[in-house]
């Protein structure tokens, strides 16, 4: 394939990935395959470089059922920079963000799934019971977590937006220190 043709296809995939066509951002691998052909994975390497220049990162979220099938994986651009401690997310309250930090950190270290009761009992150390129920319902609705037969799993949105290693490092390094610092 010629260089110009590769660049043209990469540009096409870049704009396709950027424009949201479904309720969830990004698109599936098979959509990219339809646009760029069988070797779309090679073209995605060029797309990643283009994204890097725009301060973006291409995130690949494997399909829940068939993790090795790249055609069924979801491809999403995310900002390379984290939101930051001062900015925050407008529609997420402080206790909701803290609860999500607790839930995700537990899911990350305990194997992507944890009983709802265990999560609730841990959150009860910080928040009242009625608020916990509301928060879990809201985080489920927003796609950050998923509820399945009394168990809580990581939702599609956390897989896309949250950097596991950054969250765990942040909790271990910052959270404890800040709390112990005298005001």
């Amino acid at each position: 394939m010629e260089e110009e043709e590769l660049k043209g296809k990469a540009k096409k995939l870049f704009s396709y990935l950027l424009v949201q066509r479904h309720s969830q951002p990004g698109c599936k691998g098979w959509e990219l395959k339809r646009l760029a052909g069988k070797n779309y994975q090679e073209i995605l390497k060029i797309v990643s470089i283009m994204a890097d220049e725009a301060n973006l990162k291409l995130v690949v979220v494997p399909d829940e059922e068939q993790k090795d099938d790249m055609d069924k994986a979801r491809y999403v651009f995310v900002s390379k920079d984290a939101i930051g401690e001062k900015e925050g997310i407008g529609w997420m309250r402080i206790e909701e963000a803290a609860s999500l930090a607790i839930i995700l950190s537990q899911l990350y270290v305990k194997g992507t799934m944890e009983s709802k009761k265990a999560i609730e009992s841990l959150l009860l150390e910080k928040l009242p019971g009625w608020r916990i129920k509301q928060i879990i319902a809201k985080l489920t609705r927003l796609g950050y977590i998923e509820e399945d037969a009394g168990y809580i799993k990581i939702g599609w949105r956390s897989k896309v937006e949250v950097d596991r290693d950054e969250l765990l490092t942040s909790i271990l390094s910052k959270a404890g220190k800040e709390a112990s610092q005298p005001s």
């Binding site: 900002s79 939101i83 909790i171």
Partner: protein, 186 residues
Amino acid sequence: MILDAAAVNAVSKIVSHQNDWLSYQFSRVQVDPYMLLDKIRSSDIESLSRAFMSSVHLPASVRQIDSRRLKRAADYWIELTAWGKKESLEAIPELQIGLEEFELLTDDIEKELQSFASWLKEKVSNGPILYEDVLGNDGKERVKRAFLVSYLCSSGVISIRYDPSTSKYVIVQSSGIPDNSVAVVL
């Protein structure tokens, strides 16, 4: 024989989950679960929230409107006959002014909130309903209902929308994302 097959199937699922878990653990940074739990317990809500915010990378996407929705929006806009025309305000009726103490107890409000939320969700499942109808006319009940509605909106259970064609507020099913700010209109 069937029971044996079911047992073997269940065991194989457990082994498969263990395999997934091990693969997952070896692919990432290793963290001691007990140390993490200690850190969580010793941290306050604010610092945990900050830890979360510093690890969130928002998706970059551009939302667009398709031509069908654009046409529907244009048709709706054209049908707004009262646009720009101010309705004359009615004279304010004379009211008897009085103050009454009104207290919302935490235990009561929790129960009220649950029953009110399920009642309201059922109502809006059939279509938008007028905010004014939900409040009712009883003064004390009206204040309480306005508070509950605003709370449910900010929690993302329901949403309030302004209908410019009727100049009235309607309560609709939640789109998923909670309303940022909800003014209590009495």
